[in-house]
Amino acid sequence: MKTLSQIIAIALLNLRNIPARLGASAVIIIGIGGVVTVLVSLLAMARGFQATMLGNGFDDRVIILRAGSNSEINGAITFEQAGIISNKPGIQKSSTGPLVAGESYVSVNISKRGSENPSNVPLRGVSENSFQVRQELSLVAGRNIEFGKFEVMVGVGAVDQFQGLEIGSSLNLRNTDWQVVGIFDTGGSIYDSEIWTDAAILNSVFGRGSNYSSMAARLSSSQDFEQLRSALESDPRLTTKIQREQDFYGTQSEATNQLITGVGISVSSIMAIGAIFAVLNTMYSAVSVRSVEIATLRALGFGRVPIVTSVIIESMLLALIGGALAGLLAFLFFNGFTASTIGTNTQVAFEFMVTGELIMTGITLALVLGFIGGLFPSIAAARMPITVALRAA
């Protein structure tokens, strides 16, 4: 109890004279704030990318690919196999038949806004059922494509990131002009980065023959996954693999996610080392300026523990301010910031997500740095012989 009241007394004393050492204290706030800003922004990028790839969380949706394919770009399911798949049990039925859609998927070169270099933008050839399978799709502007025509509709993410995809513009792909007739939104999922057209038209222009790249289906209920899977696997005419949509895109996002997170962590670790030196510097000089004060306290009977603790409290408090400000800055500037990057094969448009959890991660890092930066100077302060320090005055 006595120790505690001593700690509080000294800590308050220290904190009250922070205004007198504003410059030095700002060093800690800014140094740690810089590290936390970089870390939180890069992690927010990784988080936003992952959220887009994991989509809207419909667990009754599946993707069927040729066995051995890891992405739609490598897929091939013949029209004949597609017909067989449609009649398997477990797929939800609607008035127009089973909710399963054969889709063709290619990557086309379109430049990002503000760049001349081509990027790989996904072009998905869809069937009439595709719209019912993805029930979250809503039209933001224009109209749906008409099948049999050279028309495309574009996701909101793609319009935002790439050149020449506004309604009414014409897109030249493979020496063929396609009219942009609509813009759709799927609530931030990966489909928002895509351009959609009629699968039959895509197949003829891109020479894809009688093959789909993949099939998307809606299950009667989430539990019917196993039923459909065993039905597909036991059919000797099919060589397919089935995955839940979330698992499929989750696997695809892993590598990119790890890369961004890895870069974020390495850069901020190096910066953190620099920041620790700065905190040490400030706290050592804070302690040395106060050496007489500290010696006086010790002479008055204050223990070593309260001295050590109060110095650490000061540096951690300053670090906390820096971390919190940085989290706030990152949130104000980067939350909702749109960007696009390459997924497995094609571009994915996404928004940075500065979540409360990431800000907490940043603040935790700030506190750790503040602790390390305060620890050594505080020990030096406590070890200082009373008489020497007093005589120096």
Partner: protein
């Protein structure tokens, strides 16, 4: 120069503070040295002239492929020395992590090895590669990483190219190549024979990813590139001829505006460091005002005082910049482990110069205000304290 001892002594007045400041600066220049080459790589403008090795790829999409006959057609163009073709095999070796450590290509073996003269293979291994249909060669780095030996069977599971057995392919390791460009060059790729691969793949026979060629006369690279692209301009599969580096960089730059992100990080780092160091420097000068007043009393001119204080900042930031950049240059040798497809990152002369310029600018910005303060010191007032 005669004040050098004085400058050193005042720098070393508080060894702990100077060391900590130096360490902060060092970290900043280390980060700069590591990131600047990355940003540089993405801002290098492409220049076809003088390139002896060019890539022909499908113009419109990475999911497209070229008919193999393009290889013969390109080979016959006047001015082309040797043309080879390569096809992305993909596939899985052991698991996803191991697979990402190296790339696998089906190539026209003889021409490919001629063009890529930096890939050095003993003659008998080269003959085996060309003559044995199921042969494969891997680079030294991959062989060492996975403990592969000549004579090993290397199993790959197909993800794009299935064969009649489904997805299992097996190749015989007949060669391990080294790089003529030294230890830091990329020796990760695995190569297999195109003819064997094409015979057994069940779909897409007769198509390849790229045609690669060398020129008789490097000065003609730009005109030959145009000639090739116009030759195929109205065909089903239009081409784009570029340097290998440009092709790979474009794929990589699609990750995002890397150059911009990197520069933003460096900006944040230096802004932070600037404020940290400025504070320490002015603190150091404030503490010494009495000493500076003594110097003035002894007859030092204001400009001398100014120079002495500035020189301290210069010395500190230049030394730390040199060490930081040196450390970065050392660490960059290992960059191939991070981005294996790209030629090793190097800290070029221009990056070093930029780094040193930043050091000079930094020392001016942080050194000038306290130096000015030092010249304005009032002798009597300072000595009284």
């Amino acid at each position: 120069m005669k004040y050098f001892g004085l400058i050193l002594a005042s720098l070393w007045r508080k060894p702990l503070r100077t060391s900590l400041t130096a360490a902060t600066l060092l970290v900043a220049f280390l980060l700069f040295g590591l990131l600047e080459p990355v940003s540089q790589m993405f801002s290098d403008s492409s220049n076809l002239a003088g390139e002896s090795r060019l890539w022909v790829s499908p113009r419109h999409s990475i999911s497209d492929m070229l008919p193999v006959r393009y290889h013969q057609q390109i080979q016959q163009i006047e001015g082309i020395d040797t043309a080879a073709h390569q096809t992305w095999f993909g596939g899985v070796y052991i698991d996803a992590i191991s697979s990402s450590a190296f790339t696998r290509w089906a190539v026209s073996a003889e021409e490919f090895m001629q063009i890529n003269s930096q890939m050095v293979l003993p003659q008998e291994q080269l003959n085996a590669f060309i003559n044995i249909p199921t042969a494969a060669v891997v680079g030294r780095a991959t062989a060492e990483r996975f403990g592969m030996k000549l004579g090993d069977k290397i199993p790959l599971t197909a993800d794009i190219w299935h064969n009649e057995d489904g997805s299992h392919w097996t190749f015989d390791l007949v060669g391990i190549y080294d790089s003529a460009e030294g230890e830091n060059a990329d020796t990760s790729r695995m190569l297999i024979n195109y003819d064997y691969f094409d015979e057994y793949r069940i779909v897409g026979k007769g198509i390849v990813s790229n045609v690669v060629f060398t020129l008789d006369d490097v000065e003609r690279s730009a005109s030959i590139a145009t000639e090739i692209d116009s030759m195929f301009s109205n065909s089903q599969m239009e081409t784009l001829t570029s340097t290998e580096q440009d092709y790979l960089l474009n794929q990589l730059s699609q990750v995002g505006n890397i150059g911009l992100i990197v520069r933003a990080i460096m900006g944040a780092v230096f802004f932070t460091i600037l404020l940290l160091t400025a504070n320490t420097m002015s603190q150091a000068v404030r503490e010494r005002l009495a000493e500076l007043a003594v110097l003035k009393t002894l007859g030092f001119q204001n400009q001398n005082i100014l120079l002495i204080v500035l020189a301290e900042a210069f010395l500190l930031s230049l030394i730390t910049a040199a060490i930081g950049l040196g450390l970065a240059a050392y660490l960059l040798q290992y960059s191939e482990y991070i981005v294996p497809q790209i030629t090793t990152l190097n800290l070029g002369m221009s990056s070093v110069m930029t780094g040193l310029l930043i050091a000079v600018a930094l020392s001016l910005i942080v050194g000038l205000p306290p130096a000015m303060q030092a010249t304005r010191v009032n002798i009597a007032a300072a000595l009284q304290r």
